[in-house]
C-alpha cells in the first residue's frame, strides 16, 4: 500500500516535472540580470523593462491579439451555424460528405492548409486585385477557416445532447425561429460558444505555420517574432515575454473557473427573479 503510494507519487512528480520544469526555467531566467541567457547573473527586472520598451514586440503582441479576437469571433459565428446544420439537418443525400468536409481542417496538416491558402490569396489577387497586400487580414481569414471546424464540432456535440423538444416547445408557444434561437438555443449552448471562442482564440494566438505562409512584409505575429528571434539565440527578453504570457493565461483561466463556479452556486441557491435572463 505504502510502496504503491510512493510509486504513484514519484510517477506524478516525474510527470509534472516533465511538464513544468521547462516553464519554471523560462520564468527563472526571465529574472536573470546577465545578458547571457545561460549564465545566472543575479536577480533583476531589467528584461521586463526592456520588453515594455521594445516596440517591435509590442506591435507583434497587439497584432496577434487583434487577429485572435477577430478570428475567434467570426469562427464562433460561422462554426455555430455549421454545428447547427450538422446537428439539425434531416438526413439528405451527401450528408456524410458534407459533415466530413466541414471537419477536414481538423486533420489537415497545417503546412497544406497554409500553402493552399497562400495559393488562393495569390490567385485572388491576380484575378480581382484583392487582397492587395497580405498581412493581418489574410492571417485572420486563414485562422477563421480552421477554427470554424473546431467550433462546429463543439457546438454540434452540445446540440445533439440537447432535447429537440425544447425548441419545439418554444415554437409551439409562439416564438418564431429566430426568437427560438436567441431565447432557447443560444443560452443552452452558451458554454459551448464560450469554449469554442476560447479555443479559437488560443489556436490563433498559437499558430506559427499557417500565419507564416499567408502573412506579408511588416505583419509579424508574436509566434513569428519569437521564432525568428530564437533562431538567433534565446534572449532574456523572450523569457520575460513568455513569463508575462504565462501569468496572463493563468490569471484568465483562474478567473474563468471562479466565475463559472460562482454562477453555478448562485443558480442553485437563488434563481433570478421574473423578467431577467430572458429577452
Amino acid at each position: 500500500m505504502k510502496r504503491h503510494g510512493t510509486f504513484v507519487l514519484s510517477m506524478m512528480a516525474f510527470g509534472f516535472a516533465f511538464l513544468y520544469v521547462p516553464i519554471a526555467l523560462v520564468v527563472l531566467y526571465s529574472f536573470n540580470g546577465s545578458s547571457l541567457s545561460t549564465v545566472w547573473g543575479g536577480f533583476s527586472l531589467r528584461w521586463y523593462g526592456e520588453l515594455f520598451r521594445n516596440e517591435e514586440i509590442l506591435r507583434a503582441v497587439l497584432l496577434s491579439l487583434r487577429i485572435a479576437a477577430l478570428s475567434a469571433s467570426v469562427a464562433t459565428a460561422l462554426g455555430t451555424l455549421a454545428g447547427m446544420a450538422m446537428a439539425r439537418l434531416p438526413r439528405f443525400r451527401g450528408r456524410t460528405l458534407f459533415t466530413a468536409m466541414i471537419l477536414t481542417p481538423l486533420v489537415m496538416p497545417e503546412v497544406l492548409t497554409g500553402l493552399s491558402l497562400l495559393l488562393l490569396f495569390v490567385s485572388l489577387h491576380d484575378l480581382f486585385g484583392w487582397p492587395g497586400a497580405r498581412g493581418g487580414s489574410t492571417i485572420a481569414i486563414a485562422h477563421i477557416t480552421f477554427s470554424t471546424a473546431y467550433v462546429a464540432v463543439i457546438v454540434r456535440s452540445r446540440l445533439t445532447g440537447m432535447d429537440p423538444s425544447l425548441e419545439e416547445a418554444a415554437m409551439d408557444l409562439g416564438a418564431r425561429p429566430l426568437r427560438v434561437f436567441l431565447d432557447i438555443t443560444v443560452p443552452l449552448i452558451a458554454p459551448a460558444l464560450l469554449t469554442g471562442w476560447l479555443l479559437a482564440f488560443t489556436l490563433s494566438l498559437d499558430d506559427l505555420v499557417i500565419a507564416s505562409f499567408v502573412s506579408g512584409p511588416g505583419s509579424t505575429t508574436l509566434p513569428m517574432l519569437i521564432f525568428s528571434k530564437v533562431r538567433l539565440g534565446v534572449t532574456p527578453e523572450i523569457n520575460a515575454l513568455a513569463t508575462v504570457i504565462i501569468v496572463i493565461v493563468a490569471t484568465g483561466i483562474a478567473i474563468a473557473a471562479r466565475t463559472m463556479r460562482r454562477r453555478e452556486a448562485r443558480h442553485a441557491e437563488r434563481p433570478a427573479p421574473l423578467g431577467t435572463g430572458t429577452g
Binding site: E168, A169, G174, A175, P273, L274
Partner: protein, 378 residues
C-alpha cells in the same frame, strides 16, 4: 346557463354539431413506412379525447402533425373552421405538452410559464397576474422562483401543463402526460387534469398507451394500430362493444374464441364454436354468410365462477378445472381449462374476507349470460 339537451354532452351523436377539430385523410409516411395512414377524425369542443395505442402505432406522429411540428404527407387539418394544415406551429391556436415536459432549464418556473404570453407581447402586469393565477391553479405558487432542476417530476408535469394552458389555447395536446409519474400520483393527477379541463373548458387531445388512463379521463377514445384507428367511441363503447378483434384484445382482458356461422335469420345468427363446444344464437343486425369465420369474445369479469352447476338454463355453461389462479386483493384471476383444452380467463371479486374460492385443480362451472358474448366480424 346553457340549455342542456342530451346531445350537448354527446355532440358526436348530433348530426348538426360542428366539429372543433376536423382531420381529413391525414397521412404521414417516413419513406415507405406509413406512420399515420389516412386518418379521419372529428373532435368536438370541450371534449377530452384520448388516442390509445401500442408503442409505435403513430400516436405521437399524429399529435405532432396537429401541433405543426411535423408536415403531413397528405390530408387536411381544420381547427374551429380554419384550415391550419400549412400553418407553422407558432400560428396555431393550440399548445402541446410534451412527453418529456421540455421545460426550459435556464428559466425559472415563473419564466417558463410566462414565456408564451411574452411572445404574444402581452403587457407586463397582465402577464404577472395570469402567471400567478395559473400557478395557483396547479398549486405551484410556492415554487415560482425555482428552476426546473429543483422540482420533482410531478411538479414538472404541472409546470408543463400550466405553460401549455396559459395562452388559453383552443386545443391542448398532451403526449403521455402522466407517463413519468408513479401510480399514486398518476391517479391523483388524472382527476386534477379532468378538473382543470372542466374549469377551463379547453378541448384536450391526450395520447396515451395506458388504458386505465384513457378510460378514466376521456369523453371518447380512438384506438390506434399501425397508423389507423381501429375504433372510435366512448370508453363504455370501446370496452363493452368493441367492433373488431384488435380493439377487443387491446383494451382490457378478453377471452377470444374462433367460431363459424352455421345459419341465421334477419336479426340473429347461429354459430358453432368448437373451442367452447357449443352452438350459440346471437342477435346480429347484418346477415352473415354461412361458413364465415368470426370470433366470440367474453370479458373475464362477465363470467360467473361456481363450484356447483348454475340453476338457470339460458346461460352458456362450461365445466373445467382451475389451471392457475392469481390473487390481486380486490380481485382474483383464474385460468380455467375446459374439457377440450380451451383456457378461459375469469376474474372474480373477493366479496367476503374469509370466503374460500376455488383452488388449484378444483372442478368448477363457468357460466355467462348470452348477452355478454361479443360477436366480432374479423
Amino acid at each position: 346557463m346553457e340549455e342542456r339537451t342530451p346531445l350537448a354532452s354527446t355532440p358526436w351523436l348530433d348530426p348538426d354539431a360542428r366539429p372543433f377539430v376536423r382531420i381529413e385523410g391525414l397521412s404521414k409516411h417516413f419513406g415507405d413506412f406509413k406512420a399515420v395512414d389516412a386518418i379521419d377524425l372529428d373532435i368536438y369542443r370541450a371534449e377530452l379525447f384520448s388516442i390509445l395505442g401500442a408503442s409505435g402505432s403513430g400516436k405521437t406522429t399524429l399529435l405532432r402533425m396537429l401541433a405543426g411540428l411535423e408536415a403531413p404527407t397528405s390530408g387536411r387539418i381544420e381547427i374551429d373552421g380554419v384550415d391550419v394544415t400549412d400553418a407553422p406551429p407558432y400560428e396555431r391556436p393550440l399548445n402541446i405538452m410534451f412527453q418529456s415536459y421540455a421545460l426550459f432549464p435556464h428559466m425559472t418556473v415563473e419564466q417558463n410559464v410566462a414565456y408564451g404570453l411574452k411572445k404574444d407581447r402581452t403587457p407586463g402586469p397582465e402577464i404577472q397576474r395570469r402567471v400567478a393565477e395559473i400557478l395557483d391553479l396547479v398549486q405551484l405558487s410556492s415554487h415560482a422562483r425555482a428552476k426546473p432542476s429543483q422540482i420533482s417530476g410531478g411538479q414538472s408535469q404541472r409546470v408543463a401543463l400550466a405553460r401549455a394552458l396559459i395562452k388559453q389555447p383552443k386545443v391542448l395536446l398532451l403526449d403521455e402526460p402522466l407517463a413519468a409519474l408513479d401510480k399514486k400520483l398518476r391517479e391523483h393527477t388524472q382527476f386534477e387534469l379532468v378538473n382543470i379541463q372542466d374549469q377551463l373548458g379547453v378541448t384536450f387531445v391526450v395520447v396515451t398507451h395506458d388504458q386505465e388512463e384513457a378510460m378514466t379521463l376521456s369523453t371518447r377514445i380512438a384506438v390506434m394500430n399501425e397508423g389507423r384507428f381501429t375504433q372510435i367511441g366512448t370508453p363504455n363503447e370501446i370496452y363493452e362493444h368493441p367492433c373488431n378483434r384488435f380493439t377487443a384484445d387491446f383494451v382490457g382482458k378478453i377471452n377470444l374464441f374462433e367460431a363459424t356461422v352455421i345459419g341465421g335469420g334477419d336479426a340473429e345468427v347461429t354459430l358453432r364454436c368448437e373451442a367452447l363446444d357449443c352452438t350459440i344464437t346471437l342477435p346480429h343486425a347484418a346477415p352473415l354468410a354461412a361458413g364465415a369465420a368470426v370470433s366470440l369474445a367474453v370479458r373475464p369479469e362477465k363470467i360467473f365462477l361456481a363450484k356447483e352447476p348454475p340453476r338457470e338454463t339460458d346461460r352458456t355453461v362450461l365445466r373445467g378445472v382451475v389451471l392457475d389462479l392469481g390473487y390481486f386483493g380486490g380481485l382474483s384471476l383464474y385460468r380455467i381449462e375446459t374439457g377440450n383444452g380451451t383456457v378461459i380467463e375469469v376474474s372474480a371479486q373477493n366479496r367476503q374476507r374469509d370466503a374460500r374460492g376455488p383452488e388449484w385443480d378444483d372442478e368448477v362451472y363457468l357460466s355467462w349470460d348470452a348477452s355478454n358474448t361479443i360477436l366480432l366480424g374479423e
